[in-house]
Symmetry: none
Subunit: 224 residues, 2 copies
């Protein structure tokens, strides 16, 4: 599931009215693909990669439970929510034990279905701690910068540290003294900073770090 893209969702629903309706309801949050019977659904489930599936319990040709079992038997771990018209507890249990991760009974609330699917597709990996800097993104952990379109530049410890401090408070002007106290021995001479600013400008872009004459350096929105 790529960032900033809607998660892809396979919806298997044979009801000619309900299918398009659910599809439309979920479209804001998901890229929905509708399959109108179990065998189409199975084929799509096995041949493409999905972020989640919503499967109707009562399908012609191939039952929803059988479909889920077939998908799971192939080792596919994609989250599945099963839709059932039946509210009885053991029907729910049968669906869950067949390999569904969740179920909802018809009639259902559209907002809740969306919320449940968000819960199923959500991932909790801590996003690599990144800082946005102009067109670039700093990954302090890996000490690298990535521009849009994937160009990656690796930084040294001092370069990354300097950039991190500057980017941590955009618009603030840091004096050389500020930066030396934060990054170097206070006994070092102020010129060190200039050198690293130069290195960074060479690696990333001339315009990312702005010089404030007589004061120090700054990161922020371009002035022109």
């Amino acid at each position: 599931m790529t960032t900033a893209e809607r998660p892809s969702l396979l919806l298997v629903e044979d009801d000619a009215a309900l299918g398009p309706l659910i599809s439309e309801l979920l479209e804001p949050d998901f890229a929905v693909h509708l399959a109108v019977n179990g065998s189409d659904g199975l084929h799509l489930a096995l041949t493409r990669s999905w972020d989640a599936m919503v499967i109707d319990r009562g399908l012609p040709v191939m039952d929803g439970i059988a479909l889920i079992k077939a998908v799971r038997a192939k080792g596919i771990a994609t989250p599945i929510l099963i839709l059932t018209a039946l509210g009885a507890t053991d029907e729910k249990i049968r669906g869950l034990d067949a390999g569904a991760n969740d179920y909802m009974s018809k009639p259902f609330d559209a907002m809740e279905l969306a919320a449940r699917l968000r819960a199923l597709t959500r991932t909790y990996a801590l996003p690599p701690q990144t800082l946005g800097i102009g067109d670039w993104e700093l990954d302090a952990g890996a000490r690298s910068m990535r521009s849009m379109y994937g160009l990656v530049v690796t930084l040294t410890a001092k370069e990354a540290g300097l950039l991190e401090i500057l980017a941590g408070e955009p618009e603030r002007v840091f004096t050389r003294e500020d930066l030396i106290n934060a990054l170097f021995h206070p006994t070092d001479q102020p010129g060190v900073i200039d050198t690293y600013v130069h290195h960074l400008r060479r690696k990333i872009s001339k315009t990312v770090i702005r010089t404030v004459h007589g004061l120090g350096y700054q990161i922020g929105e371009p002035h022109d």
Copy 2:
């Protein structure tokens, strides 16, 4: 979650009657640990590893929603089911969007709770556990690597272990300390890692494992 063992479950429930009851109901399927308030629950959630958590919505001291948010904020991806006395749809949505994977409203059916927890803790491991690494594929079970077009290289235990760890979290930079703690005795000297990295690069390819100077090693998309 080890095979053939009951999954571990953290139950956070303040009701003196309900807590032990749920605990008893789930014991056949899960190794239940009961925390009777939110702060105990949070502490246990953060300090131990669980296969699933069941959290009451209405807790004294620390609310269930706040507890879930705190756990998710730490990057913990353990499945969570939230118990709520409130049946209103937006209450359910709030719980799910806070980071819960599922909810149940009281009063609830014990069998259904167990079924839902089984669904949450179930894993769908693919038969051959392979990891893609650049143009190669690691078969950790057979401790071998296959390149596209069939070239096969066998690895030693340490080599395969090291590669597996690195490939398990692409882009993450592992320090030598990280790797030693995972693979070797913590008393071993950090240089061991360098040697195995060298062996791997000789066997597979120079470019698969990237050195991050001063930090450690990393696998990930090539940087050019």
